[in-house]
């Protein structure tokens, strides 16, 4: 075995060149638009349409100033709105999913199977096709064109509840709950002080999935909001691009806006990468 090892290693080194090249080509393909937006954001209006895209230009600072002062700093309002919708929405949504998932995983009560089945069916419901009826509902409640109209529908996340349930089953032992109960802890205290810390890696994953989902959402705010000051980045940048058809000067702003909007999420993702438990999704199949 020990004699064969160097040979196989050399063989391996040779055989892995082509797979490595394929992976690097895949990585380059995904990085091309990112590289493009970085260089395009440095171009002045004239340079954008005349020089080769991947060469840096001279207009970065001017573009940044133009974007920041556009309509009285509207872009930064959109960024703040995106942060509110995604941050507040997914935070509350994760807590709701955690409580519901824990209850379904660790209690036995009449109606449990029914609740589980109905919530699971919600996973398969295309939320986007619900956006238009949701608008009529919000409209009749007088909530259309408010922060609530975008925030409230994202609080319910059936897939998050399902993942929380799976994760509670594998990470919160029934014996521990029983022991805490014998010690006189209330059920709420068991959930808050025992279950939540034990479920934390799973909850981070649920939060991130929902955060990205809400941050990337376009149709819901597009339908619900008419007041530009409440737009998130997606609808705001769409509007900039749409107006740019008439005034190409806005293209530079849309490009700068696109670059700035992807920086925080990419940074967050790279930072949180080690806390993600995406195997939860594939693992959920074996349940």
């Amino acid at each position: 075995m020990s004699i064969a090892m160097p040979g196989t290693r050399r063989q391996r080194g040779r055989a892995r060149v082509v797979p490595s090249i394929i992976l690097v080509v895949g990585a380059i393909y995904t990085l091309v638009p990112i590289a493009w937006v970085v260089t395009a954001s440095t171009k002045s209006r004239g340079e954008l349409f005349s020089s080769f895209s991947f060469l840096p230009g001279t207009g970065f600072w001017q573009n940044l100033v133009d974007l920041s002062t556009y309509e009285g700093g509207q872009y930064w309002q959109w960024a703040l709105n995106s942060l509110i919708y995604a941050g507040v929405g997914s935070g509350i949504s994760t807590l709701i999913s955690a409580a519901a998932g824990f209850a379904l995983a660790r209690y036995r009560f009449r109606g449990r199977a029914l609740v589980f089945t109905v919530l699971l069916a919600g996973v398969m419901l295309p939320q986007i096709t619900l956006a238009i009826p949701q608008y009529f509902l919000m409209s009749s409640l007088g909530l259309a064109n408010t922060y609530w109209s975008v925030l409230l529908p994202t609080l319910i996340n059936p897939f998050g509840i399902y993942l929380a349930c799976i994760y509670a089953q594998s990470s919160v032992p029934a014996d521990t709950i029983e022991a805490a109960r014998i010690d006189g802890a209330s059920e709420f205290r068991i959930f808050r002080s025992l279950a939540v810390p034990m479920m934390l890696p799973g909850l981070v994953t649920i939060f991130m999935l929902q955060f990205v989902g809400v941050w990337n959402n376009f149709l819901l705010p597009f339908i619900m909001l008419s007041d530009e000051s409440m737009f998130p980045l997606t609808t705001g940048l769409y509007m900039l691009l749409n107006r740019g058809t008439g005034t190409p000067a806005l293209y530079s702003l849309a490009i700068m806006g696109a670059l700035l909007s992807i920086i925080p999420l990419v940074a967050l993702m790279l930072f949180l990468q080690r806390f993600w438990r995406l195997d939860l999704i594939s693992g959920s199949l074996k349940g």
Partner: protein, 318 residues
Amino acid sequence: MGGSRLDEGETMTTAVSVRRARSAQPRVAPWAMLAPAIVLFVLFLLVPIGYAIYLSFVALRVDGGAFGVRRQVFVGFENYVTALANPEFVASLGRLALFGALSVPITLGLALLFALLLDLPGIRFGRFARTSIFLPYAVPGVIATLLWGFMYLPSTSPFNYVFRLIGLPPIDFLNEGVYGSLANIAVWSSVGFNMIILYTSLRSIPSEIYEAAKIDGANEWQIAWRIKIPLLTPSLLLTLLFSLIGTLQAYGEPTTLKSLSNSISHSFFPLMKVYRDAFGTDNISSAAAASVVLALGTLFVSLALLRLLQRRTFEETR
């Protein structure tokens, strides 16, 4: 699936303690914990569905000549017949099918290829490739379309700039090639997420399985084809499910690209047609009926795939 671990735990203890544990099960607490989820589920999922179904069966009719009042009447399946027979809607479904036939197989094929390559021992730049390919997951579809859209646009396209330099005719990304261009955006956005799902389930396969095959002289290609891909089937079906649901709901990308392309109409994809009916032409009944058709279509696809999935896992455990 719920509570299976609880059962195991209980069988290990004595019968007496089982009875005590059951009697100690609180009744109010689980409902209190479920209450927010149930209330929101009813309000923002069940009620809108019910309302959409109601709207799809009624229509506004004007009674009594010129001074007539508009009132809602029950019209049965008339809205469905109108929606499904509408040539614009049928054409939008056809365009969606063409787009899906391009984007879904390419996305899943590349995701599977990358996942299998990442799982090979001794791969170089694996971490770099994995992170880079996953990165577009953090980029909203609208922004992804904006980035690619400018790279397609004749006046700013770096590809056509190079083609011009070397004397090749430019590619018309936004008109003739619009399906390919849309599919490319979809592939770019979703290949990484699917790759990670497949890769994490590959990592969960115990390596002893491969050792036996290697002793028998199997090479990596045979191991991938005969062992890894069959074991990946449940995850592949899951990614197929996500991709199909995503395709049926395509909206943001074509709507954004429409700003740059003349080849994308207001009713290019079904959901765009639904949106136009509801807000553009004020034909709410038709929009509701088309919404219900789309939702049922998605549900049907999901259930069919889940049935397949259950049968697979059942056969494997047998």
